[in-house]
């Protein structure tokens, strides 16, 4: 579907709406998402009754949620809706009651990227365990370095009769005293 046509039709329906076209997708504001999705789903012209995919992208200065809509009845699509929110307050209204298919995908995006979908009845982590801190797919997330011996590892090894070299022991002691966790460095990718 040509995004220009969709944009023109949406602007005719909602006069005050702000829509930008970014790479074949329609960038809209979070407060407009629900009415736009509802219109696309219900109107006879579009009948976008199949929400294929929800995902989130980290653009460093902001987070973006992307929705791929298709129509099963009319066999048209996709329409990509893109909603950008600031990193400090990533809140987007949930599409759960319009599309049941959003249930797990919004939970996934929340788990991995930390976007809060307001109105989702059961917004819990889905892949990571309860009590996990951080959101692993954000670009500033640094995973724990598994290759570094921490103090509890040294203790465990010594308890099992393994001799730990003095330099490793010293490093683990320093790490423990500094109160920091061992973190791996992530390869840096260029910003958009």
């Amino acid at each position: 579907m040509n995004p220009q046509d969709v944009k023109a039709k949406l602007e005719a329906q909602f006069p005050a709406i702000e829509i930008k076209i970014v790479n074949q997708g329609l960038a809209i504001k979070p407060e407009d998402l629900r009415r736009v999705a509802e219109f696309l789903k219900e109107s006879d012209e579009f009948k976008m009754n199949y929400l294929s995919c929800i995902t989130a992208v980290d653009y460093l200065d902001s987070l973006e949620s992307v929705y791929n809509l298709y129509s099963v009845d009319k066999r048209i699509g996709p329409i990509f809706l893109k909603v950008r929110v600031p990193r400090s307050n990533p809140k987007i209204p949930s599409l759960f009651d319009l599309y049941r298919g959003a249930e797990y995908q919004e939970r996934e995006a929340y788990d991995m990227m930390g976007i809060v979908y307001e109105g989702h009845p059961d917004l819990r982590r889905i892949f990571m365990w309860e009590g996990f801190e951080g959101h692993p797919l954000r670009k500033d997330y640094i995973p724990e370095d598994e290759d570094v011996l921490e103090w509890q590892d040294v203790e465990w090894l010594e308890r099992h009769g393994v001799k730990v070299p003095e330099e490793y022991k010293e490093f683990a002691r320093q790490l423990k005293e500094s109160g920091k966790e061992a973190r791996a460095e992530r390869p840096k990718a260029a910003a958009e």
């Binding site: 294929s52 995919c53 996709p78 390869p187």
Partner: protein, 389 residues
Amino acid sequence: MSVSASEKTYQAYDPVLHDTETLEVNLGPQHPSTHGVFRMNVKLEGERILSLKPVMGYLHRNHEQIAENMSYLGSMPYTDRLDYFNSMSNNFAYALAVEKLAKIEIPERGEYIRVIMAELTRLVNHVAAIGFLLNDLGAFFTPVLYAFREREKILDVFEETAGSRMMCNYFRFGGVKRDLPEGTLDRIKKIVQEFPPFLDEFEALLTKNEILCMRCQNVGVLPYELALNASITGPMARASGVNYDIRKVDGYSIYKRFKFQIPLGKVGDVYDRYMIRILEMRQSLKILEQAVKEIPAGPVLNPKYVAQAKAPRNFKPPKGEAYGRVEAPKGELGFYLVSDGSAQPWRYHVRAPSFINLTVLEDLCLGHKVADAVIILGSIDIVLGEVDH
């Protein structure tokens, strides 16, 4: 086949009749009926299910982040590990997304080989899925072994073309890794000829089997509206009557050239999901028959990208984004890629069909018995490598 007999087995749940203590049980994560490491948190009253919460993530390895720290071609072998039964269709979807991003063309013979491999994969998946469904029903390993006997013949074809039975890593951006070896096409022709008699035999054993009918009919009914609303795809949606097959809708690759039909179910129960898989295999055989007959000679990989396959870090698609999707055996498999112009994808997202198909698991199981939950899960046909990313 007696429909009335099976209707007797299912009665709508009535809490007044079964007023017993509720019990909370964890099915899994280590249980053969969960097809992997998957847990279902079930609340029971007697044997009937009051609520069911799936718990996943035991196999989570952050597939997406690993792919974001790798070259584009580098994650091709890793897509094999998503749905490890159908590595060829995973490769297909990923290659399609990257080709959309970088606007790469594929030579004719390459397209035909892709379609042949994708349809062989569908046969492998459906025949094994039915086998394991029967396993869940209690027909312990006899149907699975019949299914695996046929699957093995196809895996032999994969081994001689790609070098590996399951982790094929056969697709490249712009075609496939290498041409079919001599004699493989004849072998595929032979499989296409021998498969229908096997399916007839398989169906003679199962389709009208009274136990199968009684256990599967009217169990786990998924209504049309819910299937559509919950983004269910693949054989599961088509069993509920949703006429949506991406091979027809998008006509990606060269699927528009082939004549085949989309089987649709009426009821949307476990039996329909079983039947749809059988019928889809017959349609896949039709596509294979045409593809094997029409396949032209020529290169299998776009000559511009032969060097790229050897130096993957030099492959830098232009800035932009793309969503490529295929009709994988389990449903819509899509890859969403955002490129920032470097050698690594800025964002790489997998739309995994069996993960999203699990959304309705609770709706399907409510009011049924525990033993039915096992076959309902079997009929959804999940692979935990894909569910957990």
